[in-house]
Every structure is written in structure tokens, then in C-alpha cells.
């Protein structure tokens, strides 16, 4: 295990959390002192705080957009059950206004403008996908409205010096490097890697990071090619990769291509020791669509129901899973798209409390200085506004169930390795 990851899971984290708690408590105390005329009385109810979110409910990304909305709604229910966000001892109930961007980035920007101008949204929750996040970030920046997003991992968005956009999720370059860390611990150690990459900003960043990181782990990248984003068939590329006989087959793309690549791998008899896809296997759809063929597949995940974080507020990991299954009548636990969306709300909640104000500028500053531990992991932003402090984990599908297999400190299963040949399954 690399020292960085190990450290994040060690007891130091717990210590740091305690420190964060104390700092947080102190900050609250200070805020309370600042408004001492109210101190001691029970919070009164103030005007509702309006959040706006343009998510894809129709179009190509309606699945992922739907998961994003579920994540926001999870927090909405919880916070309103408790009466709302406490600002200066006044409880403000919360509303989230939704708009459907039809999976079109240009429309998303217009809708964010609509949310801010017409619906009087004071804060913006991010859309799904890196392209929409980029256009929305520009509107938020122009209007000086803070936006926290959990579904746009491309770092390009955060390298432009925008002041009002924050991402609670680990950036794209972290998606598949965890799989490489894990691979280095396995025996016999895989030596070669083939990479198939969708030609979009997020997926290319994921692939670049893998190409740079793999040699440091003694894994040689023997094949790396891009395909046009949303290509319906990738069997040609996969057969080229097969000729190199790689130990690891990786895909940096999206759910549809992950399913297509897995099907093509079976049809062409590609027998790698590890199949790892950046986005897709974590969703219940991947398992229901592929059935037993989904087994043994790895993915890099922002979050799994097995992580062992000790949150300082909101629900614990297991309570979150239970609340999700109850609310949506689902048997499967929430996947990370839901969790990261909820985490975006949590960042806002804490930042607004810390700011003690609904002023967008003050909330922005509070977001910049935020450092809390949640069920989703640590939320803290670097000076670009992206959360590089939370690690990713590695999941594997075993017998139709997701298991967290790496890092060992949070794992609830061991990697089934190597993946058996298709003919022997």
C-alpha cells in the first residue's frame, strides 16, 4: 500500500478528525458569541434557503442524472426533518429547485441562470458530467454564486482559477490509480496493461494518470488507444488489445461502454487477469445488465457502502445505506454517484453554518476553508477548489455483489485474482 493512502486510513485520520471537530466546535462557539443576543434561546425559524440544481432527467445521461437527484433528495429530507440549516441560531428550512438539462451542456448553463435569476436560488448544486459542470461553473462564476458539485471530476474545470466552484469528489486522475496500487500487491503480479479510453475530457484525464502511474508500479502500458465518446461498438479496439495479451484491461469511459467492452471481451475471448473500468461497474445496472458476466470486474470508486469513515455530522455510512434503501425502496445499496451528490449538500450545510451567513461571498470563503469528515470521507478543498484529500477505493463484483477489496484497511473482501478465463466460468 502506498504511504499516502495508508496514512489517510491510519489513526492519524481519527486524530485529525477530532481536531477538525474541535475547530468546528470552536468556530460554532465563536459564531454563537458573535450573536450573543440570541444565545441560549431555542432557534427560531427563518426564511427557506433555496438551492438550485440542473440535472439530466431526460436524454443520454438521464440515468446518472437521476442518481444525482437521489443524492440531493437524501440530504433534503434529512435536513428538513431537523428543521433546516442553523444560521446564527435561526433555522432555515431548505428547498431544492430542479431543472432538467436534457443532457445538453449548453442548456444546463441557461437553466442555471434561470435557477439563479427566476427561482432565486442562493446556491447551486452541480449537474452530472464534466462538460455540463464546466459550463455551469462559468455562470456561477459570472454571478458570484457558489456551486458545489459531486459529479464533474475533470481537473480542467478547476485549473482555470474559478473562485466559486467546488468539487467534493476526488479528481479524475485518481480514478484508476488505486487499481494499480492493488495490482502491485497481487501475486502473480500483473506486468502489462491495455487502456481503452473514451475521447472526452474526464476519461482522457483518467487515462493519462494511469499511463504516468503504471510504470512506477512496474506495470508496462502495452496498448493505449482512444475511441470516439459514446461509440456503440469497441470490439475492433479490444481485439487489437487482445493481440498484445495484456494482464490488465482498463477502460476509461462510461457505463454504456463498460457494458459493451465486457460483452465484447467475452465474445472475443479476451482473458485478462484484471478487468477494471472507471465508470459503470459501481452501478446496480452493470450487474443487472450483464448477470454473471459482471463478476470479477473491478472499478475505482469514489465511495462504497463499506468504507469506514467516522463522520462528524449527518448519518453514519450504514445509516446512510439504510435510509437510502428505505426512501427509494431499493434492495441494492446506493452507488457512489448518489453518495457524492449527498456529500455536495453536506459541504454546503457545514459551510453555511460556519459562515453564519447566507451571503454568497461569505459562504464561498467558508467553503474554501472547509475541513470536515463525512460518511463520504474527508471534505476539504485545495486552492483550486477540488477535493484531493479523500482517497478512492477499489471495488470488485463477486457473485453479483459489490465488495470493497482495496485498500485493505477498509476492505470487506479479498480480490478474487486472477480472473478466470471466460471458457471456464
Amino acid at each position: 500500500m502506498p504511504p499516502v493512502v495508508e496514512r489517510l486510513y491510519s489513526k492519524e485520520v481519527v486524530r485529525r478528525e477530532r481536531f477538525a471537530l474541535i475547530v468546528g466546535a470552536a468556530a460554532l462557539l465563536l459564531t454563537a458569541c458573535g450573536t450573543s443576543n440570541n444565545a441560549g434561546t431555542s432557534p427560531s425559524t427563518g426564511a427557506p434557503i433555496v438551492f438550485g440544481a440542473a440535472v439530466s432527467l431526460t436524454g443520454a445521461q438521464s440515468k446518472e442524472g437521476g442518481l444525482t437527484k437521489q443524492g440531493y433528495d437524501m440530504w433534503l429530507d434529512w435536513i428538513n426533518q431537523r428543521g433546516g440549516i442553523v444560521v446564527n441560531n435561526v433555522k432555515h428550512p431548505v428547498q431544492i429547485k430542479y431543472e432538467d438539462d436534457q443532457s445538453e451542456a449548453n442548456l444546463s448553463a441557461t437553466l442555471v441562470q434561470k435557477l439563479i435569476t427566476d427561482e432565486k436560488a442562493q446556491f447551486i448544486l452541480g449537474p452530472y458530467g464534466s462538460a455540463a459542470t464546466a459550463t455551469d461553473a462559468i455562470v456561477a462564476e459570472k454571478d458570484g454564486i457558489p456551486m458545489v458539485e459531486g459529479n464533474g471530476a475533470a481537473q480542467a474545470i478547476f485549473n482555470k482559477g474559478y473562485k466559486y466552484t467546488f468539487g467534493v469528489l476526488s479528481p479524475a486522475n485518481k480514478y484508476l490509480t488505486g487499481v494499480l496500487d492493488m495490482a502491485a500487491t497481487l501475486s502473480p503480479k500483473p506486468a502489462t496493461l491495455a487502456m481503452l479510453t473514451a475521447n472526452d475530457n474526464f476519461s482522457v484525464e483518467v487515462a493519462k494518470a494511469v499511463e504516468e502511474y503504471a510504470p512506477t508500479k512496474g506495470i508496462q502500458v502495452v496498448f493505449s488507444k482512444q475511441y470516439p465518446a459514446a461509440a456503440p461498438d469497441v470490439s475492433g479496439l479490444l481485439s487489437q488489445a487482445k493481440a498484445m495479451n495484456p494482464d490488465i484491461v482498463m477502460n476509461s469511459g462510461h457505463l454504456a461502454e463498460a457494458i459493451a467492452i465486457n460483452k465484447a471481451a467475452k465474445q472475443l475471448g479476451v482473458n485478462a487477469k484484471i478487468f477494471a473500468y472507471s465508470v459503470g461497474p459501481s452501478t446496480p445496472d452493470f450487474i443487472s445488465a450483464l448477470g454473471p458476466d459482471a463478476n470479477y470486474v473491478y472499478d475505482g470508486s469514489q465511495w462504497t457502502p463499506q468504507v469506514k469513515y467516522q463522520p462528524s455530522f449527518y448519518l453514519s455510512v450504514s445509516d446512510y445505506v439504510k435510509a437510502y434503501q428505505q426512501k427509494f425502496g431499493a434492495s441494492a445499496p446506493p452507488d457512489y454517484h448518489v453518495a457524492e451528490s449527498t456529500a455536495a449538500c453536506l459541504a454546503f450545510e457545514k459551510a453555511i453554518e460556519n459562515a453564519g451567513s447566507l451571503d454568497p461571498g461569505k459562504v464561498r470563503d467558508a467553503l474554501a476553508g472547509l475541513n470536515v469528515m463525512t460518511f463520504f470521507g474527508q471534505i476539504k478543498f485545495d486552492n483550486r477548489g477540488i477535493n484531493i484529500y479523500k482517497p478512492m477505493v477499489v471495488e470488485q463484483i463477486q457473485n453479483g455483489v459489490h465488495y470493497t477489496v482495496y485498500p485493505a484497511a477498509v476492505a470487506n473482501g479479498k480480490p478474487l485474482y486472477p480472473t478466470p478465463a471466460w471458457s471456464t466460468r
Binding site: Y98, D100, S203
Partner: protein, 341 residues
């Protein structure tokens, strides 16, 4: 199509002109009241940021639909690849501003030139094709240009290009409005010139046009270039307005279909048809957009509306309100009979 135009009573025409002029005045001057000094002076706020955004988008589609109309409506060559010009214009501004550090105004002048030159190349190569074959060849170019741009590292590849944010909604609204007016004026001038008659002749019968001395190749390519330059201009303005250019944003095939739908709904081959189509359709799309959590139903509504449009007003909005038609069951029945077989 022009010959069918009917004279309305003089007072009706005067009233319509007066209302249109007032509307135009509001559209052009209204935004000025949202300036900070105006707000501080307590003038009533006629506009907000959302209004700007929608109005700018509408104007953008007016340019695209009017540009398409020059080649598709006047000349009769249905291009499915005009989005390539929009994208090229956008990328021209994107590259020149963010990589070459040109001032925006200089880059904006380059945008229609680059798009126009590409239109020239494309026109010379493809305008020999007819009908469906021309449509699909242009579609192919539209797709290919977008895909190539998405792979070239110096154009930002799949990451796209980020331009410095310019915080003036007013600037982009007036720029786009100016481009829309330019597009309308260009169409108007064409329709009243020898050039325009040549284009109409080509549309009605290309061989006959050639026989009576129209240099068909030159006319067609010139029309295509004009359409390309106008569309490229809109793309260039969009690039700086949106501050972010990538394949998904500036080469959407959906916008390609949309501009054609607009020209068709408004009425092809007329000056104001594409304008009316763009304004009506884009406003409907923008009104139905969002729709909170009932989004699916608004999509269905839009679909039904489009189907209804094609069944009931096949000659376009302008013809529907301005021509011989009346909003009566008889008209609808007659239209149905004409379109059904």
C-alpha cells in the same frame, strides 16, 4: 412563393408595423435599463440575466436559421452540415483568444472569414451533388470536422478551450442581435438583387437557370459562403459569451436539426420566415426546458407540437399568419388533404 403574397388592408398593415416597431424598440433599448446606473436611478428593470441569456440564444438561432435559409431555402440545397461553420467560428475565436492572446474583436472578425473560406472549399467540392446526396455529404463534413477538432491537441482536444470570462451580458446580447439583423438584411438584399433571382432560378430548375445564363456554380458557392460566414460569426460570438468551447458545445448535431426545423416552421425562402421560426421554436423550447421534475412530459409536449406544426401549417408560420390562410377548421382540413397524399 413571392407571387402568392396578398395585400392586407392598409390600416392592418400599419398597426402591425407599429406593434413590430414598438416591440423592436423594447428589445433593443430594454436591456439598457438593467445597467447599474439605471438601476440606481430607480428605473423599472425590464430585463434580467435570464432574459439576456434566452434573448441572446434566440438571436443566435435567428442567425443560424437565416444562414441556413440562404443555402437551403433560397438556393434549394438542404445542407445538414452548417453546424460545422458554427463550430469553426467558435473554435477560431477560442484558439485566437485563449492560445494566441488576440483581442476578442480581432478574433471575431477572423471567425466568419475562416468559416466562409471553409464554406468555399466545401461548396466547390460538394455543390455538384444533388438533393439527398448533398444533404448527407454536408452532414458527413459536419460530423467529421467536429471529430477532428476533438482530437487535435493544439485545439484543446477533448478538454476544450477555456476563454477568459467577460462579465457583460449586454455586450453579447447586442453583438448577437447585430449578427441577427445582419443576417436578415443580407437575406433581404439578396432577395432584391440579380443574385437572389439567380438563386431562386437554381432552386426551381438548375438546368434552366444555366441555360438562361446564370453561372450556377458561382452562385451556389457564393450563397454557401455567405451562409457559412454568417453562421461562423454566430459561433464566434458564442465562444466568447460561453467562455468554454468543446466539441459537445459547438458541434451539436441537434442544433443542426434545430436550425433546419426553425427555417421550415417559419417558412423557407422568405426573409422573415427563419426569424419567426427561430423566435417561436426557441422560445417554446426554452419555456418547456427545465420543467422541474416533469421534464419528460414537456419533451413529449414538444414532440407533439412539432408533429402538429408539420401537419397543420406545412408552409410555415409566416404563410399561416400573413398569407391567404385563416385560423379556421376549413383551412386545417384543406391542409390535411394536401399533405396526406
Amino acid at each position: 412563393m413571392i407571387a402568392r403574397e396578398q395585400r392586407l388592408p392598409r390600416w392592418v398593415r400599419r398597426a402591425v408595423i407599429a406593434v413590430a416597431a414598438l416591440g423592436l424598440l423594447y428589445v433593443i433599448l430594454g436591456p439598457l435599463t438593467s445597467l447599474d446606473p439605471a438601476q440606481q436611478a430607480g428605473l423599472p428593470l425590464l430585463t434580467d440575466k435570464l432574459w439576456f441569456r434566452i434573448a441572446t440564444t434566440v438571436a443566435m438561432f435567428v442567425v443560424m436559421a437565416a444562414g441556413w435559409n440562404i443555402i437551403g431555402g433560397l438556393t434549394g440545397y438542404a445542407s445538414f452540415g452548417n453546424i460545422a461553420f458554427f463550430g469553426l467560428g467558435a473554435y477560431a475565436v477560442g484558439v485566437l483568444v485563449s492560445n494566441q492572446r488576440w483581442p476578442f474583436v480581432a478574433a471575431l472578425i477572423a471567425a466568419p472569414i475562416i468559416a466562409g473560406l471553409f464554406g468555399l472549399l466545401m461548396g466547390v467540392a460538394l455543390l455538384r451533388l444533388r438533393g439527398h446526396y448533398f444533404a448527407v455529404a454536408t452532414l458527413g463534413v459536419g460530423v467529421a470536422v467536429g471529430e477532428v477538432v476533438n482530437n487535435v491537441p493544439s485545439l484543446g482536444a477533448s478538454t476544450g478551450l477555456f476563454l477568459p470570462i467577460v462579465r457583460s451580458d449586454l455586450l453579447f446580447f447586442y453583438l448577437m442581435l447585430g449578427a441577427a439583423l445582419l443576417a436578415v438584411i443580407v437575406t433581404w438584399v439578396i432577395l432584391r438583387s440579380r443574385f437572389g433571382y439567380g438563386l431562386l432560378a437554381i432552386r426551381e430548375n438548375e438546368e434552366a437557370a444555366a441555360v438562361i445564363g446564370v453561372n450556377t456554380t458561382f452562385y451556389k458557392v457564393a450563397a454557401f459562403c455567405l451562409a457559412a460566414a454568417l453562421t461562423g460569426l454566430a459561433g464566434g460570438i458564442f465562444a466568447q459569451w460561453n467562455s468554454f468551447v468543446n466539441q459537445e458545445n459547438v458541434f451539436p448535431i441537434s442544433a443542426n436539426v434545430q436550425m433546419i426545423l426553425m427555417a421550415v416552421i417559419g417558412g423557407t425562402g422568405t426573409v422573415l420566415g427563419p426569424v419567426a421560426g427561430a423566435v417561436v421554436l426557441e422560445l417554446i423550447i426554452q419555456t418547456l426546458a427545465g420543467g422541474g421534475t416533469n421534464a419528460v412530459y414537456s419533451q413529449i409536449g414538444l414532440g407533439l407540437l412539432l408533429m402538429g406544426c408539420v401537419i397543420f401549417i406545412p408552409r410555415g408560420v409566416i404563410d399561416f399568419f400573413g398569407g391567404r390562410s385563416r385560423l379556421s377548421l376549413g383551412y386545417l382540413r384543406q391542409t390535411l388533404r394536401e399533405t396526406s397524399a
